[in-house]
């Protein structure tokens, strides 16, 4: 059989009834369009989430000091818990198996001279292991050394944007004043990509706007400020990614003990957040494909209906074609070809319209939806599948017509 010629014949038959063809295509067009657009949005959202979570470090376990209500604070005092402390960090380093580095961090509320009040820079008091845990890269100078922490040296390391904002002071060897105390700039970080987090649990710090000082060297809290825990965050860097979950469990137990059984902290495992996000995504995809499947089914039934009507309408033509040499297989190929061309065309149109829709939505809403290869391939595959399924029965009916009887048909 000459498949190309047969397909062309099928295409010509479709072109003969453009309106009918177009209308019966619509179901497939919309189904595919919805799949493409929604999967693109889902994919964009997923990538964004994963990127955000990824910023926290997939090999890390993060222990955060919880924000306590007054009642909780009283309870904590009762149990003799003083929140996250450097002792906790030391304990975790000793007791959690597979830990490569432990870093402590304290968020410091301090006025930075020369920085704008509305958009303050973040002062972070950290231990020397901190940059390793987060893979911070230096552009110039050095990071805070263990000795700086020990001696409470008045030095600081600037994030890329902080350095720019501080102007003449924000250069290597410059002096940055925090709460009127001068800190010597010993290092400047390279610029780092940062995505604003959607929720507090996955929010990552913007290190570009940070000023790092040695833990303990930070200006003391002002008078009248309430007492704060020694650390706001302990970061555990694991040697291997698989160790994060068991390490998180151990860390939790250790801290519960040292905090007198009061849970005034929160253990965050970015890798688990990622897994969770992916699970949610999968559920969403299954639901989406269910909906798309139903629309395709409905579209397919419409096409089948149209094809069946077309077969009986063209019975005479089938008889003529049979008389001049078409075999049953030729006739089946004609009609099957029509159904597949119809759904394939609908699928292609759906893909193009879906992509256009994604573009428009991205521009209008500022989203980062992305059309990836798989949804496109899958939609086309499904469209062709629907064409074959909905065309097969009409094609077989056409093929099984008795040629002589079809010729007699009025």
């Amino acid at each position: 059989m000459n498949w190309v010629k047969l397909l062309i014949t099928s295409g010509q038959a479709l072109m003969q009834h453009k309106l009918r063809t177009g209308l019966s295509m619509l179901g497939i067009v919309f189904a595919v369009m919805a799949v493409i657009a929604m999967l693109a949005m889902a994919e964009g959202a997923k990538r964004e989430t994963l990127e955000q979570i990824g910023q926290l470090g997939t090999q890390n376990v993060i222990v955060r000091q919880a924000a306590l209500t007054q009642g909780q604070e009283a309870a904590a005092r009762e149990r003799l818990s003083r929140g996250l402390r450097q002792d906790d960090a030391a304990l975790l380093e000793r007791l959690v198996p597979g830990v490569a580095a432990v870093a402590g961090l304290k968020q410091v509320r301090a006025a930075v001279a020369a920085a704008s009040k509305d958009d303050p820079l973040e002062v972070l008091a950290v231990t020397a292991a901190y940059p390793r845990a987060l893979s911070l890269d230096l552009a110039q100078g050095r990071f805070i050394a263990p000795l700086d922490v020990l001696n409470k040296n008045q030095v600081c390391v600037l994030g890329w944007e902080s350095s720019r904002l501080l102007g003449a002071q924000g250069v290597l060897g410059g002096m940055v004043s925090l709460e009127d105390r001068p800190f010597l700039v010993v290092g400047i970080l390279r610029e780092r990509r940062w995505v604003k987090g959607k929720s507090a649990a996955i929010a990552a710090r913007n290190y570009n706007r940070a000023i790092f000082v040695p833990l303990g060297a930070q200006p003391a809290p002002r008078l009248g400020d309430k007492r704060e825990p020694e650390l706001s965050e302990i970061l555990l860097r694991m040697a291997q990614a698989e160790q994060v979950s068991p390490a998180a469990a151990v860390a939790r137990q250790v801290l519960m003990q040292s905090h007198g059984g009061f849970e005034d902290f929160q253990v965050v495992v970015p890798q688990e957040l990622i897994n969770q996000a992916q699970r949610t995504q999968r559920v969403f995809n299954v639901v989406l494909f269910g909906i798309a499947g139903i629309s395709l089914l409905v579209g397919g039934i419409g096409i089948m209906n149209m094809m069946l009507a077309s077969v009986s309408e063209r019975t005479r033509e089938i008889g003529i074609r049979r008389a001049i040499g078409a075999s049953a297989a030729h006739i089946a190929a004609h009609f099957l070809g029509e159904a597949v061309l119809l759904t394939l065309g609908g699928g292609l149109m759906g893909i193009v319209l879906g992509m256009l829709g994604v573009l428009v939505i991205n521009m209008a809403a500022g989203w980062k939806s992305v059309v990836t290869f798989w949804p496109v391939a899958l939609s086309l595959g499904m469209a062709v599948g629907v064409g074959i399924l909905s065309g097969l029965y009409p094609a077989l009916r056409a093929a099984s017509l008795d040629p002589a009887a079809a010729l007699r048909h009025e």
Partner: protein, 261 residues
Amino acid sequence: MAQRAPLAALRELCQDLLRPAALPQAAAEPPAGQPLVLAQGLCKFYPTQYGQVEALRGLDLTMAGGEYLAIMGASGSGKSTLLTLLGCLDRPSRGSYHLAGQDVSQMGDRELSRLRANHIGFIFQTFNLLPQLTVAENVALPFLYRQQSPELVKNQVEQAIIRVGLGHRQDHRPAQLSGGEMQRVAIARALAIKPWLILADEPTGNLDSQNSQAILALFQELNSQGVTLVVVTHDPQVAARAGRTIHLLDGRPLGAPEQAP
């Protein structure tokens, strides 16, 4: 309408596609040394819900290449049924039919179709052109179902159209033609494949006498050029042009002895 179950059709189709092709080769000329048409005890029964209709009840027919045969008979006597059998559109219920030495009664759908595509031209009372196609496209239609180089197809199609005198209407659609012209397009479509056998079922039934005369003249001209023709007709004038006439009555040639069914 007669319709086999689609599932049976699917099975037949798959078998047809899977069977190694024992297909007759497309020879330009029928093999010499045997009759072109050899039918013996040809029967065709149609099962209906009211019982079996015996459309053809034992017919012997032998035709040599180049013959011009007319078939006459009352309505319902089995003329069209005979043509569908001779034209390999259907297999006989009983009896045998050899076309140029090949046993048609044993062939599957694919082989029958191949025979029709390569060697048989049909002409109908109602012309049976496809209205959406132009004259040239209609004439080229049989070539969709056989293998041939495009240049050759173009050539043969053009020749056939010129031969029936419609060279100037190649791009017209059937709706723009008169009945006589449409029938000539149908003749061109049958001629284009250079068939062994042309079968015409009341070709002048829908035409006025002037157009009928023209078509008959064309038949005679084709026959004189060696084309084998079978024409079914009610019109004695048409039959008079043929070299031989057989009369059917109730599915049997007139004068043939009664056979046990």
